[in-house]
């Protein structure tokens, strides 16, 4: 960290004052420097590279992200040894800069719908790549617009007149040396976006562009010189990368939300407004109940997601170890869980960042608060690596499957094992949760049970509604579609349960008593606030009574007051460096107003005392009127 922050080469003007083109240029400059410095310092450990990179770019995207994050790893996992010899070292040395071109203008999460074609021509032993329609133009890949000279392109493979589905191809797109697009290639930047200014997201259109047969990534599937297609052994393996990236997003959610909380809570301790007691000076806005009610549940959420992120990372490591040993049994649950948690955490963090911004009043809207930047950088994660609603429905598919297994008398394991209880209740003819009025609202373990009952009841309701639709002799797909709102609710309840459970489990691992006490308060707040925001689910089937809900609401407010004295310490613990936070409102030293003024003076509109518009427009008008 200090290595980067103290390095004069990495200093630059405040990004908020730069145009998009300048921001791109700064990012490229820093990336180039970074690669050289990494080697100069001999940093090679992936974890260390990750931290180094995140400090160089201060947690922001950069044009080489796809090269480092997708192009190189894909070569490693999907290229044959010969292909690695040809491409890997040049790519490692950045003679080849690559990107990963999957999404098309008309097609996103539904991969099978991609339209780009790669047709094998045995006569020349080449693939002919085409973007046959406007909708098939590759659209969005990072680093494609201006930076890359190669791309791994996903296309429908046609050989011997048959479509063999999606495969990956290494496609050179720009001339080495001049960087001009190659004949048959149309490539460019897709224009300005909501954030991601430093990234040249691009488009790519291919017209009868030929590449040698050896450019198809052939570690798994292969096309032989005569055009014979050799199938890969298992297609489940490609799940692995997706699971990995989605699990990273869970951690990203925690970090983005922690940053926003740090800014909003520190600022709320500095800002004074109105009066609480007549005649007394204006209090810190953090003393208002409404402000605490906005921010502390988010703080608790940030901690909850932090623990969930760590859990997912560990689980992924363990399960991928199993996979290497050939054991795929845990993969479906992990896949379902990461999909749902990716959606749940990114949706929640997204809304939470907004809430933090609004909690900072007008100044939150200024770029100097840093929150707009956090928001625009984070919010696309609701869409990329699997659109969130689609992710929730994948989790739901697993939940319904598990429910059906239980109904048919089998037992299920893992996080869904609570569904086993449903069958037991069916034997004793009793409503799902009618027994659960014993919930103790001061006890996290008991609250886990309440969340469990809610998840069970919503999974059951969705599964039953689905069955009812099916009984109307609708097609399976139609019935699924007509139940999808219920299914998403079930997935959300399941994910919510998992998070409360993991947070609660974490408490017993904390040995320091003071720390455990404050974490228990946060855990309780997280669980109780979740109930108070979803009271309908808990009331409707009697998991909790009216009186208990009133107590829950009351206890939430008591917890706000209990957490208040520790609030700033709890965000300080996230340990974000001021430079990394990039916020005038969230400064560690709290000298907000002086620094806002200093910051504003640097605005491009203030470069001259009298703006040129005065001479060009205002003055002539006043003279004429």
């Amino acid at each position: 960290e200090a290595l980067v922050i103290n390095d004069p080469d990495f200093q630059h003007e405040d990004l908020n004052f730069l145009s998009r083109s300048q921001r791109y240029e700064q990012a490229i400059r820093k990336s180039s420097l970074m690669v050289m410095k990494l080697r100069e310092y001999g940093i090679a450990d992936p974890e260390e590279i990750y931290w180094f990179k995140s400090f160089v770019h201060r947690g922001r995207p950069e044009p080489l992200d796809l090269h480092l994050g997708m192009f190189l790893p894909t070569l490693l996992t999907q290229a044959t040894p010969e292909q690695q010899d040809r491409f890997f070292m040049p790519a490692w040395n950045l003679e080849i800069i690559g990107t990963y071109a999957q999404t098309e203008m008309g097609h996103g999460t539904h991969l099978r719908g991609l339209e780009t074609t790669a047709t094998y021509d045995p006569a020349t032993q080449e693939f002919i790549l085409n973007s046959p329609t406007v909708t098939s133009i590759k659209w969005w890949p990072g680093g494609l617009g201006k930076t890359s000279n190669h791309a791994i392109v996903l296309a429908q493979l046609y050989t011997q007149g048959q479509c063999k589905g999606l495969h990956a191809f290494i496609v050179p797109i720009r001339q080495l040396g001049t960087h001009e697009p190659l004949p048959g290639i149309t490539v460019g930047d897709i224009g300005p976006k909501f954030g991601y200014d430093e990234m040249d997201n691009g488009y790519l259109k291919m017209d009868n562009f030929r590449i040698p047969r050896e450019n198809m990534l052939m570690k798994y599937a292969q096309v032989e010189p005569d055009g014979t297609y050799v199938k890969p052994l298992s297609d489940k393996l490609t799940y692995g990368t997706m699971v990995f990236i989605r699990s990273l997003i869970v951690g990203d959610s925690a970090r983005a939300l922690s940053r926003a909380c740090t800014i909003a809570i520190r600022y709320s301790a500095v800002r004074h407004q109105s009066e609480l007691k007549p005649g007394e000076p204006e209090p810190q806005i953090l003393d208002y109940q409404t402000q605490q009610y906005k921010l502390f549940p988010l703080l608790a959420t940030a901690y909850a997601f932090h623990f969930v992120g760590a859990y997912i990372k560990d689980t992924y490591r363990r399960v991928s170890g199993d996979i290497n040993e050939g054991d795929l049994s845990e993969l479906p649950e992990l896949h379902a869980l990461t999909a749902g948690l990716k959606a749940f955490t990114s949706w929640t963090a997204n809304a939470g960042i907004e809430e933090c911004r609004m909690a900072c009043g007008g100044h939150g809207y200024s770029r100097c608060s840093g929150i707009p930047d956090i928001y625009v950088t984070f919010t696309p994660s609701c869409t990329y690596e699997g659109e969130n609603t689609v992710m929730m429905l994948q989790t739901a598919r697993f939940l319904v499957k598990s429910y059906n297994q239980v109904s048919s008398g089998q037992r299920v394991a893992g996080m869904v094992s609570y569904l086993n209880d449903l069958s037991r209740q069916r034997i004793q003819p009793q409503h799902v949760a009618a027994r659960a009025v014993t919930v103790r609202i001061n006890d996290p373990v008991s609250l886990v049970e309440a969340y469990k009952a809610r998840a069970a009841r919503l999974v059951e309701a969705a599964a039953k509604n689905l069955q009812a639709e099916l009984n109307h002799r609708k097609s399976k797909e139609d019935a699924w579609n007509r139940t999808s709102v219920d299914l998403v609710r079930a997935s959300e309840a399941h994910c919510h349960y998992v998070i409360v459970k993991l947070f609660t489990a974490k408490l017993s691992e904390i040995s320091n008593a003071a720390l455990r006490a404050v974490m228990t308060e946060l855990c309780l707040l997280y669980a109780l606030y979740g109930i108070s925001k979803n009271t309908g689910d808990f009331l409707q089937v009697g998991i909790l009574t009216d009186a208990q809900i009133t107590q829950v609401n009351q206890h939430v407010k008591e917890l706000l007051a209990i957490i208040r004295p520790n609030a700033v310490a709890l965000v300080d613990s996230f340990d974000f460096h001021d430079i990394h936070l990039g916020s005038v409102l969230g400064r560690y030293d709290g000298n907000v107003y002086e620094n806002m003024f200093e910051w504003a003076k640097k605005s491009p509109l203030n470069k001259t005392e009298v703006h040129e518009s005065f001479h060009k427009h205002l003055k002539p008008m006043q003279a004429k009127l």
Binding site: G145, H179, L276, V488, D546, S603
Partner: protein, 659 residues
């Protein structure tokens, strides 16, 4: 031609789109006028917004100034006036992307707060643009809470002047539009001191820049506050005052005056100072909040019938994404809300016009009600609209994040509305204070304003619905909303009372109840909105087709509210668990019904392609072609990036191999 996927949606409309447009405009004549104004503006290349997404802050500001000045010319040419019927349509056509909006607030505040003499002096200068005004209230350290402002205006009897100061950094005026670069004058709100005594916040006209060369006047420090999430075209500014002297006549003195000898005189209510703000708040609801939601719905719904993804049935082509229930659940409730808010906004305007007349006649009785109304509705409507626009943005998948979709700028713009003209939480608490007062009065049998008489009503304790169709009866859901609003308010009032009786100080008790108070104020506004929607639908009896679809939207708006706040309705058993399942079933059924008319319902908003400024939302639905062509015009594609020669080339050409 029109994309067949979009064309087919229009063939099955259950009502006449043209008639609905007329209804929304308030008559055929207005529709004609609106279209004429919009056409005249959009035909003029100076007003084009095509390059807006590619421009820097400096370029946007300059364009906005150029447009504002061209607009003056245009208005004279066309014979339009600022208070003519065309003016709202001009604003609509420009989408707010024009300078000098605060100049109008400057004019408005002088006409409301200034004496006849002041109006005669300043208004002609301002309307002739011999000066450019701004309106400086907010300070770096102080926002919605006006009494906390720190800027001072001290009266000096010997020179008959006020001496203005921003005594410390947090007192610096911060955020006022048009002030950073353009304004020559501004209305400054400052604490008035005469002979050492503070009389509270008052408005003063202060010159800040020279009328000759636009340089800053002595004692003035002013500039732009730097980049924001949006409004790059507005030069929001800061202002420091150091012993700036202005003549006694520059205090706006229709309601308060300092006489030459320093005697302070008050005429009428002090509250009038807030009136400018209240009027701004009301006009804001429609232009800055509801229109963006309508635009976002138009873009997202049109795109959702053009975009196809995955298959609903095997063997068929990929389905339109609007055919997915989850997509309908995202987009149709905001659409229903846009209609609900359009109608509540009409209601507010009527209420307000009446109040305005009363105040002109120096009758201030309705001020508290108007104030409570405008605060609560501004907060509720803006919160809903912000959420709605964001849903639209995220419902468009990756392309929603491209600025060319038009959605990010709608979002970042509407985002600001939850803060300016009063932070939403504080506004809701003001409404709550009014409601608690009325509730106490009603309990004691005292008269209360007409809009809240329901607080005195005694109604059944259980919802009478027996099957899901019963929830399509407006009486059933309106009563549920009414019951909930009363329950939340009365339980909060009781809690407040308990706390005070148990010895907690009044202000502390208030703070302990604020979370509930906010909830109660929202429930009140939600109830009034539902009730008003129902009444609007009832009045449409001469328009059978429109009445039917509006009834569906009204049902959807109401049931979506119950569905998403289930706990509040379940809490005291007014609605039972079984009834809640009926609500859910009815609500989901409605999605399928309204789906068929979704495109005609957004077509009826009648936005031109230019005003949407979106590659995804065009009337003809040629989404992908437009996205591709527009992206190619991006400056990043026009020139070779200097980054290549400076950094990429050395990188690619193996400088690294030295390492």
């Amino acid at each position: 031609g029109v994309n067949p996927d979009l064309a087919s949606e229009r063939q099955t409309a259950s009502f006449s789109v043209g008639r609905l447009t007329t209804l929304l405009d308030g008559g055929a004549e207005r529709t004609r006028l609106r279209r004429a104004v919009v056409e005249a503006i959009e035909r003029d290349p100076v007003f084009s917004r095509e390059n807006e997404y590619f421009q820097s802050q400096n370029e946007r500001y300059e364009a906005a100034v150029r447009k504002a000045i061209h607009l003056q010319k245009k208005m004279r040419e066309m014979g339009w006036t600022e208070d003519g019927p065309e003016f709202t349509y001009i604003c609509r056509a420009l989408s707010g992307d024009v300078a000098f909006l605060l100049h109008r607030v400057f004019i408005r505040s002088i006409s409301v707060l200034g004496s006849d003499k002041q109006v005669a002096k300043w208004i002609p200068l301002a309307t002739e643009y011999q000066l450019i005004g701004s309106y400086a209230q907010t300070e770096l350290g102080h926002g919605t809470y006006l009494q906390g402002l720190e800027t001072t205006a001290v009266f000096d009897t010997t020179t008959q002047e006020f001496i203005l100061n921003t005594p410390k950094i947090s007192a610096m005026k911060w955020w006022p539009g048009d002030m950073g670069r353009s304004a020559t004058h501004t209305v400054v709100f400052a604490q008035l001191y005469v002979r050492g005594k503070c009389y509270g916040v008052h408005p003063f006209i202060v010159q800040i820049r020279s009328l000759q060369d636009h340089s800053l006047c002595p004692g003035i420090t002013a500039g732009d506050i730097g980049p924001k999430m949006n409004f790059e075209h507005v030069d929001n500014g800061y202002l420091m005052l150091q012993n700036v002297r202005i003549p006694r006549e520059n205090m706006l003195n229709k309601f308060c005056e300092v006489q030459p000898d320093g005697t302070y005189i008050r005429r009428g209510s002090q509250k009038i100072n807030y009136f400018t703000m209240t009027t701004v708040r009301v006009s804001l609801i429609s232009d800055e909040v509801i229109l963006p939601l309508m635009k976002a719905c138009t873009i997202a719904i049109r795109y959702s019938v053009v975009r196809r993804q995955s298959k609903l049935n095997p063997g068929e082509e990929e389905a339109k994404i609007l055919d997915y229930q989850t997509q309908q659940e995202k987009l149709l409730p905001p659409l229903a809300a846009a209609y609900a808010f359009h109608f509540i906004n009409n209601y507010l305007h009527k209420l307000f016009d009446r109040g305005y007349k009363e105040i002109q006649g120096r009758k201030f009785d309705s001020l508290p009600e108007l104030h409570a109304f405008s605060s609560g509705f501004k907060a509720m409507v803006s919160q809903h609209c912000i959420a709605g626009v964001e849903i639209c943005l995220r419902a468009c998948g990756g392309h929603g994040y491209s600025l060319l979709s038009g959605l990010p700028s709608l979002y970042t713009k509407i985002f600001a509305s939850c803060i300016y003209e009063g932070e939403n939480t504080i506004l809701l608490l003001q409404t709550a204070r009014f409601l608690i007062k009325c509730f106490t009065a009603a309990s004691a049998g005292r008269p209360i304003p007409p809009s809240v008489t329901y607080l005195a009503a005694v109604k059944p304790r259980k919802c009478p619905a027996k099957e899901k169709l019963d929830f399509l009866s407006p009486d059933v859901y309106t009563e549920a909303y009414q019951h909930t609003a009363i329950r939340l308010l009365s339980s909060t009032a009781a809690k407040l009372q308990d706390l005070i009786q148990s010895g907690v100080e009044k202000h502390e008790a208030w703070n302990q109840c604020t979370v509930q108070l906010v909830q109660a104020a929202k429930a009140h506004c939600h109830y009034i909105t539902v009730k008003n929607f129902v009444e609007t639908v009832e009045k449409l009896e001469n328009e059978a087709g429109i009445q039917k679809i509006m009834k569906h939207l009204c049902d959807l708006f109401a049931l979506h509210g119950i569905f998403s706040n289930a706990g509040v309705f379940l809490h005291d058993g007014y609605i039972s668990g079984a009834q809640m399942d009926m609500v859910t079933a009815s609500y989901l059924d409605l999605l399928g019904v309204i789906r068929k008319d979704a495109v005609p319902l957004v077509d009826a908003f009648d936005f031109t392609d230019k005003s949407l400024n979106s590659a995804l939302g065009n009337f003809d639905g040629h989404v992908y072609q437009r996205l591709y062509e527009w992206a190619q015009k991006s400056p990043t594609n026009k020139q070779m990036s200097p980054a290549y020669v400076r950094y990429l080339q050395p990188l690619l050409h193996n400088k690294l191999s030295k390492l």
